[in-house]
């Protein structure tokens, strides 16, 4: 029998306007306690204004073995970067 609480991935918004960022994971019996635990483990130095928790089993991820077919083909396709346009000075920094 598994006596461990499920694992939760924790996302914290550092300040208004920024997106939530993955900060780590922890164990908790349910979502409410996961939020409370995240508050105590990850925001005790005033790091956040919002917390998301997601049970780790609900996250689907690419596997390291997919690296070749997934990512390598784009390495040689520099034309996909929008670096070949002349930007008028008046536009300013982009």
């Amino acid at each position: 029998m598994n006596n461990e609480w499920p694992l939760w991935e924790i996302f914290i918004r550092g300040q208004h306007g920024l997106s939530h960022r993955h900060v780590g994971s922890l164990h908790a019996p349910d979502a409410e306690m996961a939020i409370k635990n995240a508050r105590d483990v990850y925001t005790r130095r005033n790091e956040g204004v919002s917390i998301w928790v997601v049970e780790a089993v609900h996250i689907s991820a690419t596997s390291p073995g997919d690296k070749g077919p997934f990512y390598e083909p784009s390495q040689s396709k520099v034309y996909r970067h929008p670096t070949f346009f002349d930007i008028p000075d008046e536009v300013g920094s982009m």
């Binding site: 922890l26 164990h27 908790a28 409410e32 409370k36 635990n37 105590d40 483990v41």
Partner: protein, 260 residues
């Protein structure tokens, strides 16, 4: 009675009142800190350490104000580390040993519930310094009660083993709850000054709050109305307070004035 003497006895009552608040948070904060590195899981370990630190932070405010009111040059550190048992004014419940995790959480809940009700009144204190401290700390106490209440429900309405332990903790601790609502001359002086409520007047709100959480936790209040008392008046502490002070105060006793 000459006016000055009246003022002095009022100041003395205010000093005692502030010691009661500050000694509660000091002794409970020290007790909770004993879990640091020993809690059943990492998440609870950090949460308990945070709670302990919050309580010690509250102690700095209450005892700091107590030292100012006393006017003898003692600061919060002097009051915390250089008084002996008979000068402590905390309720007996907070000096009891931690027991198992469930007993620690039950004590925290029973205290947090009182603390949140008390602070709700102290925010409206006629003494601006008391009202300011109450306003500042009531936010973290709102979190403490949310967390301890949730954990009491989780464990009470949990497994057969956790339910049994939480009921045992409640049976053991409940006779210490009544001391929080006893009134004496010090309280009467605070009421007439408009500084604080009569402790007895908090009981109904407290009972409603506690009954709701215990019902969710499937726990039953024990029969009997016997109340252990003597801590907040200083008449008699349990044997446990001396041990708490020994570990808490030894450094300042052995190396007076040492800093880090």
């Amino acid at each position: 009675m000459p006016e000055k003497a009246v003022n002095e006895s009022d100041q003395q009552a205010l000093f005692q009142f502030l010691l009661r608040l500050g000694d509660n948070t000091l002794v409970l904060g020290h007790r909770v800190s004993e879990w640091c590195g020993h809690a059943p899981v990492l998440e609870e370990d950090i949460a308990l350490a945070n709670t302990a630190l919050d309580l010690i932070g509250q102690t700095q405010l209450w005892l700091g104000l107590a030292g100012e009111v006393e006017g003898k040059g003692r600061d919060a550190d002097a009051l915390a580390f250089l008084r002996d048992i008979w000068d402590f004014r905390n309720i007996l419940m907070v000096e009891l040993p931690n027991g198992d995790f469930g007993q620690t959480i039950m004590r925290q809940f029973l205290y947090d519930a009182w603390s949140s009700v008390m602070l709700g009144r102290l925010i409206k204190s006629g003494n601006p310094a008391i009202a300011e401290i109450a306003g500042k700390v009531s936010k973290e106490v709102a979190y403490h009660i949310e967390r301890s209440a949730d954990t009491v429900v989780g464990l009470g309405d949990g497994t057969e083993e956790s339910h049994k332990r939480m009921q045992a903790a409640l049976n053991y601790l409940y006779p210490y709850v009544g001391e929080m609502f006893l009134s004496d001359d010090t309280d009467a002086a605070m009421v007439s000054a408009g500084f604080a409520p009569d402790p007895a007047s908090l009981r109904d709100e407290y009972d409603v709050l506690v009954a709701k959480v215990l019902a969710d936790a499937t726990l039953t209040l024990p029969d009997g109305s016997y109340t252990h008392k003597g801590g907040r008046t200083g008449a008699m502490h349990t044997e446990h307070l001396g041990h708490v002070l020994t570990s808490m105060q030894w450094l300042q006793r052995a190396y007076p004035g040492s800093q880090w």
